[in-house]
């Protein structure tokens, strides 16, 4: 299948009082049409910034984002808004924060349809919004409800309906289930999967929850301080975790099994931010295996075996 999205050497830096913050630093990957790439990593590693840069909510510092071959990262913003905006949508963690509390459910879903189809008849807009409600499983009786009257799962359904109402092909899902209880989380994950199957949607699914990402993704990319440090098919990462950070991340997850006694790699130190990073491995300070070379040279993301890339000087030592 063809790639819908091709990201090449993408960088997004923020200038801060303490120096240049490399929020997304030289990231390269593709997403095939109809597939899901899961982006995992801990807070501050650049997941949301990556998502927003693909959405053109940030202008990249450099690099390319090809959408069906067109570079949406560098094109004129007017051109982007006119021709691409509705194709690429985003679903956020806290739908509540992005929903106007004074608008009813129906109005909230009508809004993006109205904005993006100037001149569409009112009745047509309402009809489309009602279709969207049905599609995401919001009962008709909720049309006149307000966001504060709904539970988290239903609010997230509004977020999904708003994103879908523009018939996008690509959706960036930024922690869409992180704030939900597990039974509600399952409903939203199933909904997203159904929509993908029925409409051929392509997803970038951002989360810090490894079990969720494994469930929903075809490929997984692990980020650490702005960089992609491991990328492979979703099933592979749990069978053959190579990068020492990915290993620690996976071993840190508490498993709901009382008989499993697993070795936990407890990392030292805290997460920092990539401000004016030195040319070294960004994980070196916390890595249990770091050697001199790790502090002197930045490891590049390189393919170790088909479809499995790792950014670590000693990656070969960690292969099984």
């Amino acid at each position: 299948m063809a790639n819908l999205i091709e990201v090449k050497n993408l960088k997004k830096y923020f200038s801060t009082p303490r120096g240049m913050l490399h929020a997304v630093d030289n990231v390269t990957f593709n997403i095939e049409k109809g597939k899901t790439i899961g982006i995992v990593g801990e807070s501050g590693c650049g997941k949301s910034t990556l998502g927003k840069t693909l959405m053109r909510l940030h202008n990249p510092t450099s690099g390319e984002v090809l959408y069906k071959g067109a570079d949406i990262a560098s094109m004129d913003i007017k051109d982007f808004k006119k021709n691409y905006r509705s194709n690429i949508q985003m679903i956020f963690q806290d739908p509540y924060a992005s929903l106007d509390p004074r608008m009813s459910v129906l109005q909230l879903i009508e809004e993006p349809i109205k904005v993006n189809n100037k001149g569409m008849a009112k009745a047509e807009v309402t009809k489309k919004a009602k279709e969207m409600m049905e599609l995401v499983g919001l009962a008709k009786r909720l049309e006149m409800s307000y966001p504060h009257e709904l539970d988290g799962g239903r609010r997230q359904r509004i977020g999904v309906a708003r994103a879908l109402s523009l018939n996008p092909e690509f959706i960036v899902c930024d922690e869409p289930v992180s704030a939900l209880d597990v039974s509600i989380q399952a409903q939203i994950l199933n909904l997203l999967q159904d929509l993908q199957r029925d409409r051929g949607l392509t997803y970038m699914f951002i989360t810090h929850d490894m079990s969720v990402v494994k469930h929903i993704s075809d490929d997984i990319a692990v980020m650490y301080l702005g960089q992609m440090i491991e990328k492979c098919p979703a099933k592979e990462i749990f069978k053959n975790t190579i990068h020492p950070y990915s290993q620690a991340l996976l071993s840190a997850i508490p498993i709901p099994d009382v008989h499993l006694k697993k070795e936990r790699i407890v990392l030292k130190g805290e997460l920092t931010s990539p401000i004016d990073p030195k040319p070294c491995c960004r994980f070196a300070a916390r890595c249990p295996y770091a050697k001199d070379r790790c502090l002197a040279e930045e490891p590049k993301l390189r393919e170790l075996k088909e479809g499995h890339s790792v950014a670590c000087h000693f990656a070969e030592n960690f292969m099984h």
Binding site: V182, S211, L249, I253, L267
Partner: protein, 326 residues
């Protein structure tokens, strides 16, 4: 059988506001053995925090009411104690760690002062001695002791939670209640904190209530587990019993709704319907409206607690003689 540090009997707690009565905790019974860790699990609104606040004597004034029941700490009913006596209990016998560290930290006091205050309340030692012990405490939770002069905002989220734990443990409590202590933290930081809590708990033999919605944390940390739904404990047992042999339909459904790391499932199991509304609870089984195993009797009356094996009980008709034929 070991002695119990805490025994909760028939506890009922309501929140009464102008508009409604929220039946947050409905007749729960629980005990925690000395030196044991009890996991209290359940989704948002199940009544976990309310249970914890009742033990601490910290229910919101005017709104939160204990309607009936007793909470005995080493045989003494905390509900009969005066506010002053409860302050003593909180300083010396029970501490609580909240999910959001900022609720427990004073932004305008150094962390060293905040820890030594707790020590002074507990022990009538000198100020210098207390400060020294505060620094030891910081080291124990993995923060360089020299940072005792720093203020809370100078620490990261994970470090703030460590400081809260240092404060909670400084009075050497017999019972520690941790209310989702790591929910807001990243997994590698969570692993550090849980590791540290486990070590300190072992060292001092502290009894603990670990409130969480993460079954993984329960499996790794706890000896016993109580599953809450709609203000009730619907199942209780050792972690082995609850994980290997879950009996209540809610417990079973919870397991199936979490994606698993070691098994592949195409679709996640969905528990139909919404979490129960404690301002509008049914007179029959609280879980009935979402239950996939229900029979007629379930919507007629409320099930009672029944033993399914020694030390393992659940609140569901399936295990009662009434189930046959209904």
């Amino acid at each position: 059988m070991s002695e119990n540090i805490l025994e909760i009997k028939d506890l009922v707690v309501h929140y009464e506001t102008d508009e409604e009565v929220v039946e947050a905790v409905n007749n729960i019974n629980l005990e925690i053995g000395k030196g044991q860790i009890l996991g209290l699990v359940g989704e948002t609104g199940a009544g976990k925090t309310t249970t914890a606040l009742s033990i601490m004597g910290l229910l919101p004034a005017k709104v939160g009411h204990v309607i009936q029941g007793s909470i005995k700490l080493e045989g003494e009913d905390l509900l009969q104690k005066s506010p002053k006596a409860m302050r003593e209990v909180r300083g010396k016998k029970i501490s609580m760690i909240f999910q959001d560290p900022m609720t427990a930290l004073n932004p305008v006091k150094t962390v060293g002062d905040q820890i030594s205050e707790v020590i002074l309340l507990h022990d009538h030692c000198s100020k210098a001695e207390a400060l020294k012990r505060a620094q030891d405490m910081l080291a124990k939770v993995g923060i360089v002791p020299e940072r005792y002069k720093d203020y809370p905002h100078q620490f990261s989220g994970g470090m703030k939670q460590r400081i809260v734990i240092a404060i909670a443990l400084a009075c050497e409590p017999e019972l520690l209640i941790a209310d989702e202590p790591t929910t807001a933290l990243d997994v590698t930081i969570q692993a550090q904190i849980l590791d540290m809590m486990r070590k300190l708990q072992k060292e001092k033999g502290t009894s603990m209530i670990m409130i969480t919605h993460d079954l993984g944390i329960v499996a790794e940390m706890c000896d016993h587990c109580a599953v809450m739904y709609g203000g009730e404990i619907v199942e209780y047992g050792t972690v082995e019993q609850i994980f290997d042999n879950p009996k209540h339909p809610y417990t079973k459904a919870l397991y199936r709704s979490i994606p698993s790391l070691d098994q592949d499932v195409e679709r996640l199991h969905v528990i139909p319907g919404m979490v129960s509304d404690p301002s509008n609870l049914p007179s029959y089984c609280t879980f009935c409206d979402r239950c996939e195993e229900k029979k007629g009797i379930c919507s007629e009356k409320d099930p009672w607690v029944i033993d399914v094996e020694p030390g393992h009980w659940t609140k569901c008709f399936q295990y009662t003689p009434e189930w046959e034929g209904k």
